[in-house]
């Protein structure tokens, strides 16, 4: 017992020591200062994950709590000149307890209300990974860790392995090797630029690539095609027709005499071409798809036909890996030239040039999430605003991004997976009747944000409420505050309310009051001052 007392005494002396208080207060202040800089550079969520909600920071706060507690206990029994001190420290202990109750039992989230639609789902801060099995009618949710950097997970749900979670990520170009070299599934990277503008573009013909084979840059349309098509493209035929077999990557540019034209019963012109022994029929003015024996458009056919003439009016750039072609309006002819890696071709539009950066036929370009520290500018995240989770299904790795859900067919079942915010469903509904934003007279500066909502309380009827800055709605222990707004595609504004349930509120207020009153009392009790040197006492 005496040993236990001695241990307690040691603990009391250690934590209740003024020097320990100085150290822990200083450490706490340094962490806070660092946190504000992190928040400024990397955003609120990163600072929360790195500092304010980290284990280390919680441990410092716990040490502060111990310091305050033992500093009080060590000064018992009560002494009159320390009354203010006791009240201050009792206030701080109450404040800490209130904050702890809020941390463990409080709810802090947002509810997004689209105009005239019922809303009852509160989005919370934490992220979760949801897996839906529609045929089984089952949904699995996994809470993702609140970390600031990449975190390896060792979790397995229904044959889906959760491998790595990236709380802040960006997609980065990645070349994945192909099993067999294939010219018709190539990927290339170019830079299109002039003196005022420049952009890197990546194009791919590989079916698993995240990149398309066409891209639009303002008025310029860029098309990416297999290298084998380049010759047909440059063939100078009067019709300008090109027929292409997607399976073999072969193409022909038939001359007029090789195209048989006949009228169909519908009055449309059917063109027929002999492509290496196969007769291919088209409606050249209508579709690039060939016709089957029933004279219907055949989407499954490997053949495609198109006319170059369609691409002569607007700027169209055709890229064939190491070959570039375009129609030059000045010379009224199709021009093309070969281009090697890091070489450029001058284009006939506004001084633009195309430079080939990379071209691969044994690897395909795809986007892979990589961890990135988020960057904040003017209060907005400009990098790292995506979360990503690497999963493994059927021995294959996939990335699930917070930007869009992913579907996967497993044993004839379509599984849907997504990363989203944890959701809490309210037992009642809110409908946004109107969102109003007033501006200062003669300006576009917002003067007020106001939500007119109807609260449907189930069997208890409904109520109209007006929520605006500094005027929240309180119902069922929840408080709804005007937080933000957004414009829907249809035009009207929607509203975002922050929703809060704080069971620690009373204790925090009580603690705060005790702290302020205690400080005044403390300094009143210690109001003795030194006399001015040289001045007479009395």
């Amino acid at each position: 017992m005496d040993k236990l007392k001695a241990y307690y005494r040691k603990t009391e002396l250690f934590f209740g020591n003024l020097k320990f208080a100085v150290v822990i207060i200083t450490l706490f202040a340094i962490c806070l200062g660092y946190g504000t800089f992190m928040e400024s550079y990397h955003g609120t969520e990163y600072a929360n994950r790195l500092i304010y909600k980290s284990f280390f920071f919680m441990a410092i706060q716990f040490c502060m709590f111990l310091s305050i507690l033992f500093a009080t206990l060590i000064r018992l029994p009560p002494r009159k000149h320390l009354y203010g001190f006791y009240v201050i420290h009792a206030g701080l202990i109450t404040l800490f307890l209130g904050s702890f109750i809020t941390y463990t039992s409080g709810i802090d989230g947002t509810i997004t209300l689209a105009p005239n639609l019922a809303g009852r789902q509160i989005q919370l801060t934490n992220d979760e990974f949801r897996i839906e099995f529609p045929t089984k009618g089952k949904e699995v949710t996994v809470e993702l860790p609140f970390v600031s950097g990449p975190k390896d997970l060792k979790m397995d749900y229904e044959g889906i392995k959760l491998k790595t979670f990236l709380p802040f990520a960006k997609d980065e170009l990645n070349w994945l090797p192909m099993k067999i070299k294939n010219e018709s599934q190539s990927s290339s990277r170019y830079r299109i630029y002039n003196d005022n503008f420049g952009e890197f573009i990546t194009l791919s013909l590989h079916p698993l690539s995240d990149f398309n084979n066409t891209i639009t840059m303002g008025p310029l349309n860029v098309h990416y095609m297999p290298t084998s098509l380049a010759n047909c493209f440059m063939a100078n035929t009067p019709d300008g027709l090109i027929i292409w077999n997607g399976e073999t990557s072969q193409c022909i540019s038939p001359v007029v005499s090789e195209i048989k034209r006949r009228k169909h019963q519908s009055g449309k012109t059917i063109a027929e071409v002999n492509f290496n022994g196969t007769l291919v029929a088209f409606l050249p003015e209508m579709s690039p798809l060939p016709l089957n024996s029933q004279m219907e458009l055949n989407e499954n056919s490997p053949f495609r036909i198109f006319s170059k003439k369609l691409f002569e009016k607007a700027p169209h750039l055709f890229l064939f890996g190491k070959f570039v072609a375009f129609y030059n309006k000045d010379s009224k002819s199709w021009e093309g030239s070969a281009v090697e890696i890091n070489n450029e071709v001058i284009l006939p539009w506004m001084g633009f040039k195309a430079r080939l950066i990379e071209h691969k036929t044994d690897a395909y370009a795809t986007m892979t999430p990589v961890f990135v520290k988020p960057i904040q500018e003017n209060g907005q995240l400009i990098a790292g605003d995506m979360k990503a989770l690497k999963i493994e299904i059927d021995d294959q790795d996939f990335w699930v991004r917070s930007t869009e859900p992913v579907a996967y067919n497993q044993n004839n079942e379509r599984i849907r997976m997504e990363i989203g915010k944890k959701v809490l469903t309210l037992p009642y509904e809110l409908i946004l009747d109107q969102f109003k934003m007033d501006t200062d007279p003669g300006t576009t500066n917002p003067a007020s944000f106001e939500s007119y909502v109807t609260l449907f309380k189930g069997n208890k009827g409904s109520e109209k409420h007006h929520i605006f800055m500094n005027n929240p709605l309180k119902y069922d222990n929840f408080t709804f505050y005007q937080a933000s707004y957004f414009q829907t595609q249809q035009g009207p504004y929607g509203s975002v309310l922050s929703v809060n349930f704080d069971p620690g509120r009373f204790w925090k207020y009580l603690g705060a009051l005790l702290l302020v009153l205690g400080s005044i009392w403390h300094y009143y009790l210690r109001r003795k001052h030194l006399a001015k040197p040289g001045a007479q006492n009395g």
Partner: protein, 507 residues
């Protein structure tokens, strides 16, 4: 342009001389609206001209006269005023073809190079100082174009019994001027007189208080009298004249702040300019209270000194502190919380500023002059008194901030940079106060620590807005502040190093 040209012919075809004299100082009281508020033309003209040129005059023309004449350019008035646009960034000077030592460039050069500025702006990915300056030059250009195309000057008009404001270009229509010509030989003057009469009849003349506020320049008088008071306190044995001067200073500042409150309709603590204004005043009042309570004149001298520093910043740091009165962002539109939370925090900074001044004074005196051990300890006690006030006020202010945040944003504490830094300030002073009772912080360490601790106040007050500039509280962001803060830190650290190095330790 064709319409404006024909209007010009209509306007100036008769009695040209009289019309040219239209732009006089009488227009200073003309009601107009700008930035969401109704105010006299004098204020709009001065603020706009200062924004564009950094000056409140063009040659011998007052801001109002120049603003009026520039506005009339929209009607083809043949007038060339040398409007010089302020440019501070060296790289922006280069693209405008300026010399490094020039501070302004002719507006016509900016107009000619605006496409280049736009291209440069579009190419800047980072929001660095170059981009900010380019944006500012573009805004100055846009403001000039808005004036000279008669869009910036708004004129009151009666519409269904209510005053509405239209731009000068919309107001001076051919029909309206032709109609006015039938009533007066000076149709433009007639139309403006009529517009003003209509405004006064419906909205009254309370807007003119802003003219009085800016014209009287009471803060400048307060600064001069504060300086006199300090000299009187130090130089005269009889403290009565200095006390009277101090009271006059306080009276002038109360009068000026009351005017500002009446104009804006809110507590005067909503931007950097106002917080500096209130903290100077607060420090002086607190110092007077402590002086009475402790019968020690050093407090009031420190209070006056700090008040002078604040008034000087208000007068001379216009690049950093904007004296104009603007509408508030929605979340701050709550007078109760503004006048409790913000004022309490600013008063706490004022009290801590007194401790900072006394600490620095003691540091310098001890290093370069002679201070006895008892005098030093007495000085420490004075500092301690100020900190006690500061800490109690700051705790209250931080807690009131938490309550306001809970009331309007739904959480008592959210680690927003402003609230976090106010807590850091509290923690810094608490660490010093706790340490003072240990062997770690004896008096010779206490004084430099208090002098340095004020850097945390400056960081919370200015640094969050000028350096961190993010979070819910960033309503006072403006340029130039980072430089000010950096200089302050360097000077303060140098003072501490000078004051502590090679100094004999006092017990």
């Amino acid at each position: 342009m064709g319409k404006l040209l024909s209007l010009f012919i209509l306007l100036f075809s008769f009695n040209t001389f009289a019309q040219f004299n239209f732009c006089t100082k009488d227009l200073e009281t003309f009601p107009t609206r700008s930035g969401g508020r109704e105010k006299p033309l004098y204020v709009v003209a001065t603020e706009t001209l200062r924004f564009i040129t950094g000056e409140t005059k063009i040659e011998d023309l007052s801001a109002t006269e120049a603003f009026c004449k520039l506005s009339l350019k929209a009607f083809g008035m043949p007038l060339e005023l040398p409007v010089m646009v302020r440019v501070d960034h060296i790289d922006v000077k280069k693209i405008l073809g300026m010399n490094e030592n020039d501070h302004s460039v002719d507006i016509n050069i900016v107009i000619a190079k605006i496409a280049l500025i736009d291209t440069e702006l579009a190419q800047q990915k980072e929001n660095n100082s170059y981009k900010k300056e380019l944006t500012k030059v573009k805004q100055r250009h846009d403001a000039y174009i808005a004036i000279t195309s008669a869009r910036l000057w708004t004129i009151p008009q009666v519409n269904v019994g209510k005053i509405e404001f239209v731009s000068l270009g919309e107001f001076l229509t051919e029909t309206r001027v032709a109609e006015a010509r039938t009533k007066s030989a000076l149709p433009v003057n007639y139309l403006f007189e009529q517009a003003k009469k209509d405004y006064l009849k419906l909205n009254g003349d309370s807007y003119l208080l802003e003219l009085t506020y800016f014209k009287y320049n009471l803060f400048l008088w307060a600064m001069l009298i504060s300086i006199l008071a300090i000299f009187s306190f130090v130089g005269l044995k009889n403290k009565a004249p200095a006390s009277v001067l101090t009271l006059i200073t306080i009276g002038l500042q109360i009068a000026a702040m009351t005017m500002r409150i009446l104009i804006s309709g809110r507590a005067p603590v909503t931007n950097m300019y106002e917080t500096v204004m209130f903290s100077g005043f607060g420090a002086l009042v607190i110092s007077c209270i402590i002086t009475i309570y402790r019968k020690e004149i050093a407090f009031v001298i420190a209070g006056l000194g700090y008040n002078i520093l604040c008034l000087m910043m208000m007068k001379f740091a216009n690049g950093m502190l904007e004296p104009g009165i603007s509408p508030l962002v929605p979340v701050l539109r709550d007078n109760f919380w503004l006048s409790t939370h913000v004022t309490t925090v600013i008063l706490s900074y004022a009290a801590l500023a007194l401790s900072w001044l006394i600490a620095n004074g003691l540091l310098i005196r001890d290093r370069f002059f002679s201070v006895s051990s008892s005098e030093y300890r007495y000085g420490v006690d004075l500092i301690y008194t100020c900190i006690k006030f500061g800490v109690v006020l700051l705790s209250t202010g931080v807690i009131l901030g938490g309550v306001w945040a809970d009331y309007s944003w739904g959480r008592f504490w959210g680690w927003d940079p402003k609230e976090t830094w106010s807590l850091i300030v509290l923690l810094v002073y608490l660490a010093i106060l706790h340490g003072k009772s240990t062997s770690w912080i004896p008096p010779h360490r206490f004084v430099p620590l208090v002098a340095g601790a004020f850097m945390s106040v400056m960081m919370a007050w200015f640094g969050v807005n000028y350096i961190l500039a993010s979070g819910l509280h960033s309503y006072g962001f403006s340029e130039g502040g980072a430089l000010f803060l950096g200089s302050f830190f360097i000077i303060q650290i140098t003072l501490i190093i000078l004051g502590t190095l090679g100094k004999k330790k006092l017990a």
